[in-house]
């Protein structure tokens, strides 16, 4: 709502584009971008010529880690879309690096832009003419509806109840502090400092646990990258097609039909899967196929989950053992395909060879037998552990994460202040801020809410 701070957002459409742009607008945008940018020639954004492009890297200023190779454009006020200082960062690495870059920028003090805010600023600052005003109103409306829909979707799974519960506990502390300040003459029993420190710690710990789910739930945001691997002609492409329920990969009886990695998207119970069908792993002479095999091996390394396919209608070969070797240290599911045909080896003998995979399943990619069990196994492979711990509550939205982080920081400052014996009104400021931040997710807490609680919890009225 404020009009003079610096905002940032990913301004290219969500999805797996080759490149994407993170845009900043506002008086600190150049300074903020400068903090996370380095150019090999030691050039600075501050001194570069407006509208020229500068090459360099985005890095995390606290760890030094390089995030991406980028091209940056600086547009100085008033010669920009919003008539404010604008920086556009062209990232190369797709969605994941775009998000990381945006997170870094937010940590440097920018605020995640409201729906339609760049355009709104452009209009308010006189950049866009009057005839377009209606279109801007429509844009704000549609973006707001869209983000509300997305936020609602992401608030499912109990997050909103979780935040509300945390906020209630925080409010109980706040109420104690506020009542202690405002009613010195009433005989009210407010909680002791020790109790307050203890409950703050308690809430802080729960907020931290919740915050951790953001990293853990990266699969929900970025998709679980899943590689289907196996020796040639065990049915990798058939499995992909069966999962997608469409003919995406070319399936033939000839080994080595798939020569490159085919990437597809699939959704299992809300978990997005980036699924890769790979070239069969074997020793080959053909140069194109050789490259395919090399890429298969690399996708195994990069995948969050490997589905290793074996043909149970044929005896295991050296190439199968090669596959088993490759997936030794990965989260993997072993799939015994072609179970509609007679088995060439027993489950026991297979298990004696492959000791690692968490589960092995029998399926028939052509008939569809066992596919549901496979989907279940895929879903559970990466999510089971924390799902049980967190009762399924996950933070997936960056806006939510930022709010929760800010709430936690204020809470930490509040308990620090309490421990240092700082005046109680300082503690109150931090607690209120923490409460407000959680309120950004599930609805604001007003002074009225706090007073209501004071009057219901304490007998006020000298």
């Amino acid at each position: 709502m404020f009009t003079d701070d610096t905002i940032a957002a990913i301004s290219t459409p969500l999805g797996e584009g080759g490149i994407g742009i993170v845009r900043l607008s506002g008086k600190n945008s150049i300074e903020i971008a400068e903090n996370i940018f380095s150019s090999p020639k030691k050039r600075t954004l501050q001194n570069m010529k407006p509208y020229s492009v500068i090459y360099g890297h985005i890095h995390n200023p606290s760890t030094g880690e390089k995030i991406d190779e980028v091209l940056v454009t600086v547009m100085k006020s008033p010669h920009s879309y919003t008539k404010e200082d604008v920086v556009e960062i062209n990232c190369h690495g797709g969605m994941i690096t775009l998000r990381k870059t945006l997170e870094l920028i937010l940590r440097q003090g920018a605020r995640l832009a409201d729906p339609g805010e760049f355009t709104r600023r452009a209009f308010i600052n006189g950049r866009i003419d009057l005839s377009q005003a209606e279109a801007i109103l429509d844009l704000i409306r549609s973006k707001t509806d869209e983000s509300r829909r997305i936020a609602l979707e992401q608030l499912h799974g109990g997050l909103s109840e979780k935040i509300t519960a945390l906020r209630d506990r925080l409010m109980a502390i706040c109420v104690n502090v506020e009542a202690y300040i405002d009613f010195p003459e009433d005989e009210i029993e407010t909680a002791s400092t020790q109790d307050l420190v203890f409950s703050m710690k308690d809430i802080g710990r729960d907020i931290e646990t919740l915050l951790k789910t953001y990293d853990e739930a990266k699969f929900f945001r970025e998709g679980l990258s899943t590689a289907i691997v196996g020796r040639p002609n065990v049915g990798k492409s058939s499995l992909l097609n069966a999962l997608l329920q469409k003919d995406r990969a070319i399936v033939t009886d000839l080994p080595g039909t798939t020569r490159d990695v085919i990437e597809e998207y699939l959704n299992i119970k809300g978990l997005p899967l980036r699924i890769m069908d790979t070239a069969g792993i074997r020793d080959v002479k053909d140069i194109a196929e050789k490259e395919g095999v090399r890429r298969s091996l690399r996708s195994i390394e990069n995948a969050d989950l490997v589905i290793a396919i074996f043909d149970q209608s044929e005896p295991l070969r050296d190439e199968d053992f090669e596959v088993m070797e490759r997936i030794k240290n990965k989260t993997a599911i072993a799939v015994l395909n072609k179970c509609d045909l007679p088995a060439a080896f027993s489950q026991e003998s297979f298990s004696s060879f492959i000791f690692h995979p968490s589960s092995s399943l029998h399926i028939s990619a052509t008939s569809g037998n066992g596919l549901e069990e496979l989907k279940e196994a895929i879903f559970n492979s990466c999510l089971k552990d924390w799902k049980e711990e967190r009762e399924g509550v996950v933070v997936t939205n960056l806006r939510h994460k930022t709010s929760i982080e800010n709430a936690l920081e204020s809470l930490h400052r509040a308990s620090q202040a309490l421990k240092e014996n700082q005046p109680v009104e300082i503690i109150a400021i931090e607690l209120r801020q923490s409460l407000d931040k959680l309120g950004e997710i599930v609805g604001a807490v007003t002074t009225e809410d706090i007073l209501n609680r004071i009057f219901s919890d304490f007998c006020i009225g000298k």
Partner: protein, 640 residues
């Protein structure tokens, strides 16, 4: 010949017409500003008007109750004390009169930080009244008259004057209504009830109807008082005495010293027996039997409410507060009730120290009309009638201090209006007065509104100690604050500034022999106070304790103060986005019906106020922002 548009219906209209057009009507003189009601709001409003150079008249139902403290004999307390200091910094009277009438002063919250310190004083009810009446009567430009006002006379939505119950007309360019609990006041004692403004005083019936006829939406509130008891019949040895500060700290920036003798209060407690009597007689309480419709304040519950709602509490505090130096009457704070007299006697006599006590005045509850305050602008002028201002309990507040703060602002803004100047409106970061009025006109209220420090977002900026630094420039600029007071203040501010600079520049070595630090850096440390500066590197000027304290506060809290100032600064930008008063909210597509109806009700003056209306979403503000900009540009286009 007078030719006014008269509102009203049937017989009532005819009666008014009869009076207005008949020879019976006597037209007395015209005033610039007329104030109706001489309570805490009315006195400040009238004084501000007269002091700002306008001819003013203060009307009261009873000349002997000017500045009457109708409830507890105390001024100040948390957040309320802050308001009193602000009134003083603007050039108002409440603080000075309290200092003249005060018989016990205590700075509350001394164990907490300076932002939440607040002064509270017990005041002698009679001395207060006399002191205030004396100020009012001595004020140049100000007349005082005893009369019951029946009607506000309006022409073309513009105020013209007032009409008394005797049919006397007074012309006025601005009218300030400060009638407290008098509008259709109805007193309840048990199941008995009767019309009254306060115990023993006439109510005002006609004026309430007059406001309704003008189109104001009105509601009903309730408040209550405890019994007053006779000190001769109190055994103080069974109670615990509570003394004030010694020496007493005055409220006013201009008071040198408190001269009245100081008295203690006494604390005693209710017990299970008290509670049993109350519970056994609940069916005789007008509140529990549903006879009282008005809404009471949750922070000031009756003793029957406390006993019912907090059944687990074994006892409740009772403060016995002296009503004055020359009276035996004591105010039994903590046990307001609307139970019948016989039950009052019974339960009061179960309280230690009060076993033999005689009640001098029974406790009572009073219901009264109020005007929904969202019908006001920030200047406290009504949106409906030009030149009509409302202040005090009529706007749904409770408390002398809340009333007085509104009163002085209404007086100031009525005067500024007559000077054709912009109204004086304080931001939420500038004064509790600003928070108070903004809350009232933006959010309205459903119970008697009392100020709490928790209502202020910028508590650290709005301190008891810096009211002068916050407001005296303004008070002087509008011509309300006396020059000698302002001059003293300028000197004080200069010394503070000078000392702050000295602390920044002066360095010394303290615990690290290799490092010299500025005095400012040292004073920032939690374990160091200004006393350390006095001992190690004192100023060559002689600085008062007040200045030293101010310097210490400003240095120690600099970080937080700056943070809050920045927040306030950002708020100011969005407050600067004005919404035209006749803005058509239906022209903005995409506002939900709920948002739309709230915006239409409050008609916010700017986007900042709009954003504070409960239920207004950030997206709605975004839409409004674009719509207003569009309107502005369309206007500019037409102009060029």
């Amino acid at each position: 010949m007078l030719n006014y548009t008269i509102t009203g219906k049937g017989a009532k209209l005819n009666k008014i017409k009869r009076i207005l057009y008949s020879k019976k009507m006597f037209k007395d003189r015209d005033y610039d500003i007329v104030v109706i009601g001489a309570g805490h709001a009315g006195c400040e409003a009238a004084l501000a008007s007269a002091r700002m150079g306008f001819s003013a008249c203060l009307f009261t139902i009873n000349l002997d109750t000017i500045g009457q403290m109708s409830c507890n004999p105390a001024i100040g307390g948390l957040a309320k004390g802050h308001l009193v200091r602000e009134i003083d910094a603007l050039g108002g009277e409440m603080a000075k009169v309290t200092d003249k009438a005060g018989i016990q002063f205590r700075m509350l919250n001394m164990s907490k930080g300076p932002a939440v310190w607040s002064l509270r004083a017990q005041a002698d009810r009679v001395l207060y009244r006399i002191a205030m009446r004396n100020v009012i009567e001595s004020q140049k430009n100000l007349d005082v008259k005893q009369a019951l006002i029946d009607k506000i006379v309006v022409e073309d939505k513009k105020v013209k004057g007032i009409l008394t119950s005797l049919g006397i007309f007074y012309g006025a360019r601005a009218v300030i209504v400060t009638t407290g609990t008098f509008l259709k006041g109805l007193i309840h004692i048990g199941l008995e009830h009767f019309s009254a403004g306060r115990a023993g005083e006439f109510p005002s019936i006609g004026l309430s109807d007059s406001l309704r006829e003008l189109g104001f939406k009105m509601g009903r509130l309730k408040t209550g008082t405890p019994p007053r008891i006779d000190a001769k019949t109190i055994d103080f040895s069974k109670t615990e005495a509570q003394y004030g500060d010694d020496p007493p700290i005055p409220f006013s920036h201009s008071t040198e010293k408190i001269t009245n003798p100081q008295l203690p209060c006494y604390i005693t407690y209710t017990n299970q027996e008290t509670h049993k009597i109350i519970l056994d007689n609940l069916d005789r309480s007008p509140m529990y039997s549903g006879k009282i419709k008005g809404i009471g304040a949750r922070y000031c519950p009756s003793i029957e409410d406390k006993v019912v709602r907090f059944a687990e509490r074994e006892r409740h505090q009772v403060f016995l507060e002296p009503e004055g130096l020359e009276t035996k009457e004591y105010y039994a704070n903590g046990i307001p009730t609307s139970l019948p007299y016989d039950v009052q006697v019974m339960f009061v006599r179960t309280i230690p120290g009060l076993e033999e006590t005689e009640i001098m005045r029974p406790a009572y509850a009073i219901e009264y009309d109020f005007v929904f305050p969202t019908q006001l602008k920030h200047s406290l002028e009504t949106k409906l009638i030009d030149g009509l201002f409302l202040a005090g309990q009529i706007n749904g507040t409770s408390g002398y201090e809340e009333a007085a703060a509104q009163g002085i602002m209404a007086g100031i803004n009525a005067s500024l209006k007559l000077r054709v100047q912009e109204p004086l409106v304080f931001g939420r970061h500038e004064a509790y007065t600003g928070v108070l009025i903004d809350d009232l006109v933006t959010k309205g209220t459903s119970e008697p509104y009392r100020m709490f420090t928790s209502r202020a977002e910028y508590r650290l900026l709005l301190r008891h100690d810096n009211a002068d630094l916050r407001l005296m420039d303004k008070g002087y600029e509008i011509g309300l604050l006396d020059y000698p007071v302002y001059q003293r203040f300028l000197k004080k501010r200069g010394s503070i500034q000078e000392e702050l600079e000295r602390l920044k520049k002066t360095r010394m070595k303290y615990d690290d022999p290799n490092k010299s630090e500025t005095l400012e850096q040292l004073l920032k440390r939690p374990e160091i106070t200004y006393k350390f500066i006095d001992e190690h590197s004192p100023s060559d000027k002689s600085l008062s304790d007040e200045i030293k304290r101010q310097v210490q506060i400003q240095v120690k809290y600099e970080g937080y103060i700056n943070q809050q100032m920045q927040m306030a600064e950002r708020l100011k930008k969005i407050e600067g986005k004005k919404i035209p008063q006749n803005f058509d909210y239906t022209s903005v597509n995409g506002l939900s019906r709920e948002v739309l109806s709230k915006l239409q009700e409050v008609k916010p003056a700017n986007l900042g106020q709009a954003s504070r209306i409960p239920g207004i979403t950030p997206a709605a503000i975004s839409l409004l922002m674009v719509a207003i900009e569009r309107l502005k540009r369309e206007g500019d286009k037409r102009a060029s």
